[in-house]
């Protein structure tokens, strides 16, 4: 019994037990669990994701059915968050919108991350003409004003969720790429990279095992920021009717639908909930990212 308590205490506060054998991943997970804010944020995110995923089971209303007799109703027992200008239930649209916004932001972030990290690693590690080529490419991409490019692309390809993800991903990987490259340039001078080379480790493995873990924190920070950016870009694109199109809902287009003076002044239920959701999700992702960063860094102990 005492052994059990000892283990529990180790799990919740004291790190590993003397002589206990724990894997690195397990140890990081314990460290993450000790960061209350991060765990709380993770729970919030999972909760939002689960609710969005189970949307049809949770709300009795349809997110698209128009009933103008119910338009602009304030919150009531039937419509907890009121209704929008077409009489659709706000809570239903909020939940369905969460699906769209979160999937979109995550997917766009992943796409940016993959392109940015791969190109950044190639440029930073191999240098010379590879570096020059990739950096000129990022310069080209950074030169284009984002919205003009995005609007043009969205006009050429069909606007929609999938294409929006691709457009945002392909246009905004440059920041991550430059961060990764810059970090690798300074990291590469470390003796342990030279040591790995002298052990005969292949370049791919050096990047994977020796470089990426050491530049995890800037990458995570950039990734969490890009989720926030993704939600915002989605909102603006939807506002221009080039993103998620009505009647499909997203937090972005709900916000943009409430941009009239009347809505802002007297119909708070139309813009506060989606705005609040964006803030909550972005904050939670930031805290989870920070918790992850601390948990994965062996030099930080808490």
């Amino acid at each position: 019994m005492s052994k059990f308590w000892e283990r529990l205490r180790a799990f919740h506060g004291r790190g590993k037990l003397e002589g206990e054998y724990v894997s690195v991943a397990n140890l990081s997970w314990r460290k993450f669990c000790r960061n209350r804010l991060a765990v709380f944020s993770l729970i919030v995110l999972v909760l939002i994701a689960v609710i969005s995923f189970l949307a049809p089971l949770i709300t009795p209303y349809s997110y698209s059915e128009i009933d103008l007799t119910l338009a602009r109703q304030p919150p009531s027992p039937e419509h907890i968050l009121g209704t929008d200008e077409y009489g659709r239930d706000m809570l239903t649209r909020l939940i369905y919108g969460g699906r769209v916004s979160m999937t979109m932001a995550l997917a766009a972030m992943l796409l940016q991350l993959v392109i940015g990290v791969v190109l950044g690693c190639l440029a930073g590690y191999f240098g010379s003409w590879v570096d020059a080529f990739i950096m000129r490419l990022t310069d080209v991409f950074m030169c284009f004003p984002f919205y003009i490019m995005a609007v043009c692309l969205a006009a050429i390809v069909e606007p929609g969720l999938k294409n929006l993800v691709l457009i945002i991903g392909f246009l905004s990987w440059t920041g991550i790429c430059r961060i990764v490259r810059a970090e690798i340039l300074s990291l590469k001078e470390n003796d342990y990279i030279l040591a790995a080379r002298s052990l005969g480790i292949r370049p791919g493995a050096i990047i994977r095992r020796h470089i990426l873990p050491n530049i995890l924190s800037p990458i995570l920070v950039a990734a969490t920021l890009s989720i926030a950016g993704g939600i915002m870009s989605e909102a603006s694109m939807s506002f221009l009717n080039l993103g998620v199109r009505t009647p499909e809902s997203s937090w972005g287009n709900m916000l943009s639908a409430a941009q009239s003076m009347q809505a802002l002044v007297s119909e708070w239920w139309r813009w506060v909930p989606p705005g609040l959701m964006i803030v909550i999700v972005v904050l939670s992702i930031n805290y989870v990212g920070e918790g992850l960063r601390n948990a994965l860094d062996p030099r930080i102990s808490n």
Binding site: V22, L194, G200, I201, R209, H210, P213
Partner: protein
């Protein structure tokens, strides 16, 4: 011992680093860190490479392992040319990586040469796994044994580098290199960052391991006394060139080059009442960008003659494998 076959043959190795080109000037300046060095290392030998800071010792060590891209020369390891810049031969990168199992390096800075994100076990296992030194099932036991031989207990296996002291880290660095069962090890001032009591422990450890694993060492150091105790042969470098070479005892007891003499005279003695001539070198090592003409030691040499300013001294054998490059011999 002299009958042992050659393990490593270094001929005319050069390593120049480009200097930043000044605007409006056409000629590229070079920092000649290693300038035409030839050296043969027999199997099971320990060769000590000494010289003051900045004379190109570490660069030479790294260049022969191809951790720096060489500018010129040729290195042959066990009959296999690693590079031959004049003959345009270059061992493909993939083959070179496989060959690194046999040629390892112990790094100077135990703080910088361990990845902070890898546990001790991971760091040592990495190379062992890469080169399949032992079957995967025995890997962990094997690495634990190596670490134990290097004086680190099993319980440290899962610890991270920042939890260790400098001496312990140096042991990890040594274990990591020796776990591959190499034939040739370049030791780049392995004790420079450690205090004296730890130094002797590490040196004894390296000597034991040498017997046990039949290693050949290229021992880079600026500490002549350590090198004398540790090595069979001593090579003295000055400003990118070898100036004296010979059996360790011989070089230390009868140095012929004025630079080597000064190095030996500057060693502290254990008896405070013993008097000995002061070291007679003036100034500090000149820049490797603007190398003095003739004998490159002449601006600091107390015996310099006009001839030293013009002719570069030839390599002279003074018997018993003891050679030096000086006009005054």
């Amino acid at each position: 011992m002299a009958a042992e076959p050659t393990l490593l043959e270094i001929s005319h190795v050069k390593k120049y680093f480009p200097r930043k080109k000044p605007t409006f000037r056409q000629s590229q300046e070079w920092l000649k860190a290693v300038d035409d060095v030839s050296l043969t290392i027999p199997r099971f030998y320990s060769v000590g490479l000494v010289g003051e800071s900045g004379c190109g010792k570490s660069t030479l060590g790294r260049t022969i392992l191809r951790l720096h891209a060489p500018t010129g020369g040729r290195v042959v390891f066990e009959g296999q040319p690693l590079f031959d810049m004049e003959g345009k031969q270059w061992l493909p990168e993939a083959r070179m990586r496989d060959l690194r199992k046999d040629m390892q390096m112990i790094f100077q800075d135990p703080y910088g040469s361990l990845n902070p994100r890898l546990t001790v076990g991971q760091a040592v296992e990495e190379g062992v796994a890469r080169h399949h030194v032992v079957p995967a099932a025995d890997r962990r036991a094997y690495c634990e044994e190596i670490l134990e031989n290097c004086g680190l207990e099993k319980k440290f296996y899962m610890a991270y580098p920042h939890e260790f002291s400098g001496g312990q880290r140096q042991r990890i660095v040594i274990a990591r290199a020796l776990a591959l069962k190499p034939k040739f090890v370049v030791c780049d001032e392995p004790t420079a960052a450690l205090d004296v009591s730890i130094q002797s422990q590490i040196l004894n450890l390296m000597m034991d391991l040498r017997e046990e694993l039949n290693l050949t060492y290229l021992f880079i150091s600026h500490n002549l006394r350590v090198t004398q105790a540790f090595c069979d042969e001593i090579v003295v470098m000055y400003l990118g060139k070898i100036i004296e070479q010979g059996p360790a005892e011989e070089v230390c007891s009868h140095p012929v080059h004025p630079y080597t003499q000064a190095l030996i005279n500057s060693l502290p003695v254990s008896n405070p009442w013993e008097t000995k001539p002061k070291a007679q070198i003036l100034g500090s090592i000149p820049s490797a960008v603007h190398i003095p003409s003739g004998c490159r030691f002449h601006p600091r040499c107390p015996y310099a003659t006009p001839r030293c300013q013009e002719d570069e001294p030839a390599w002279k054998d003074i018997g018993g494998g003891h050679c030096a490059a000086c006009h005054l011999i």
